[in-house]
């Protein structure tokens, strides 16, 4: 699904990604983890073409993404901070995104699922953080695309919605889609992820399943396993 080779990214003098290689085959949930500033969001934005790599190759579905924009037709992206044009109504925003993508969508179902009907005629500027995130989720999941990228999807969600989100993600996974998630909630990762990609200082420190991670770190608890990686590196 995604092949990354020799990816470098510098912001000014700050090297964020260094010689990163990553191969994500199709199907399954992949969690991209790492401490703050390890380059998770940068990596995702590189895949989306929002950040231009300093050097290296990225291929999505065997097509290079350089100077290409059509491949984003196959990606649904949930941004980390749900910022929307404040003076648009929810309904208008959905209609606009549909108009821009020209693709089949099932937003009505999702709106119902998250109970957003009363907010459809409200302006986005007036919504609470959690409601905005729900809108964000609707916008992400309403299209049928083989690749779904979720940047901190759980932010601001109440427990009920969180459960609905998890169901939604599993549903998509069962359809054979590839799902890329970054998050800080380890419980969420443990529960959902098929594979973990652990980023550290701009490179991949660990890639494998939850079990492999635990074996490697000789921990029985996932959270401790993650923490152990960080300590190992701190020692090294």
């Amino acid at each position: 699904m995604i092949q990354i080779e020799n990816l470098h990214k510098k912001f000014g003098r700050n090297q964020v990604l260094f010689n990163l290689d990553l191969d994500i085959p199709g199907g399954g949930i992949f969690a991209v983890l790492g401490p703050n500033g390890s380059g998770k969001t940068t990596l995702i934005k590189c895949i989306l073409g929002m950040v231009i790599p300093s050097s290296g190759e990225i291929e999505v579905k065997d097509n290079t993404i350089k100077n290409n924009w059509k491949y984003r037709q196959d990606i649904n992206y949930l941004p980390q901070i749900a910022n929307f044009p404040g003076n648009l109504k929810v309904k208008e925003l959905i209609r606009m995104i549909k108009d821009l993508r020209q693709k089949e969508s099932n937003e009505e179902e999702l709106v119902k699922l998250f109970g957003l009907e009363p907010f459809l005629d409200k302006k986005l500027g007036t919504l609470s953080g959690g409601t905005k995130q729900k809108v964000n989720i609707v916008l992400t999941f309403m299209f049928d695309s083989p690749l779904i990228i979720l940047d901190e999807p759980t932010t601001g969600l109440d427990p009920a919605s969180l459960i609905k989100l998890k169901e939604l993600i599993l549903q998509e996974k069962n359809k054979g889609k590839t799902i890329l998630i970054t998050t800080h909630i380890m419980q969420f990762v443990e529960e959902m992820a098929d594979e973990i990609v652990y980023l550290l200082e701009g490179n991949i420190f660990f890639k494998g399943s939850v079990e492999q991670l635990m074996t490697k770190t000789k921990q029985t608890d996932f959270e401790h396993a993650i923490a152990a990686i960080s300590i190992q590196t701190a020692d090294a």
């Binding site: 929002m50 231009i52 059509k70 984003r72 910022n83 606009m96 821009l100 993508r101």
Partner: protein, 260 residues
């Protein structure tokens, strides 16, 4: 690109500021005409206003829109859209709505007053064309500034400085250098210096219409050729187009390489 333009335009049409701008010109037009009862005088006053205010408003509005629509831009960037069309669409949306406010805001009172029955119509159309060019140029410059500056306050500062420089300081330096080097033949220099400032360029375009009598009083052959024939008009308009195209070109170039 057209879709982005549509949504930007739509977004702006509902923004309060655009109406303020429109109403400002509407009021200006009516006040000038109905207090003075003199079309020619109103056109001259408008010229002074347009040359100073249109660049200022376009710059500030452009910067403001760019920073305020950061979220919208990011939302669009993740969509299957070409980057250049996102920025060009937004740019044209802003410049287009500003131009529309200008043209309608001034056009309505002048038409009501009887513009079509007057010979001032050419001066007035030239004024509107110049105003449109200034809007296009300064919005593009504003987008360039905000694209290159993440910091909103810095961006605003540079934008206002740019306006101040081009509207006032440039002419001051220009005048100073003309006076200092007055023993030398200066007509090529002064024409060239005019070309490097879009505000001066627009002013020249309007001078060609309103003050041709005074301009022809100067002896220099190059001046006479420039102001005495259609050459001046053609060169000025070409330069204005260049001034519009270059910042837009830089905008798309920069936009393609920027990280979000």
């Amino acid at each position: 690109m057209l879709k982005i333009l549509k949504y930007s335009f739509y977004d702006l049409m509902r923004s309060r500021w655009n109406y303020v701008y429109f109403l400002f010109y509407l009021a200006l037009g009516f006040v000038l005409l109905f207090l003075n009862n003199d079309l020619s005088k109103a056109v001259i006053t408008l010229m002074n206003v347009i040359i100073v205010l249109v660049p200022l408003i376009s710059t500030i509005f452009g910067v403001m829109y760019f920073y305020n629509s950061k979220e919208f831009t990011e939302l669009l960037l993740a969509q299957p859209l070409k980057r250049s069309s996102i920025f060009l669409g937004q740019y044209l949306g802003v410049a287009g709505s500003l131009t529309m406010s200008l043209v309608l805001g001034l056009g309505i009172p002048f038409i009501l007053y009887g513009l079509f029955r007057s010979d001032t119509i050419w001066n007035f159309s030239l004024l509107l064309i110049t105003g449109a060019f200034l809007t296009l140029i300064f919005t593009a410059l504003a987008f360039n500034i905000s694209l290159s500056n993440e910091n909103k306050i810095k961006g605003f500062g540079y934008a206002v400085l740019l306006w101040l420089f081009l509207a006032v300081i440039y002419d001051g330096l220009f005048l100073l250098s003309l006076i200092i080097f007055e023993e030398y033949p200066l007509d090529s220099f002064s024409l060239a210096a005019t070309m490097f400032n879009p505000i001066d360029l627009s002013r020249t375009l309007i001078l060609l219409k309103l003050d041709i009598s005074a301009l022809l009083g100067y002896t220099g052959a190059i001046f006479r050729q420039f102001f005495g024939t259609d050459k001046g008009l053609i060169v000025s308009i070409l330069m204005l187009i260049l001034w519009t195209v270059l910042p837009i070109g830089r905008l798309t170039y920069k936009a393609k390489r920027k990280d979000f």
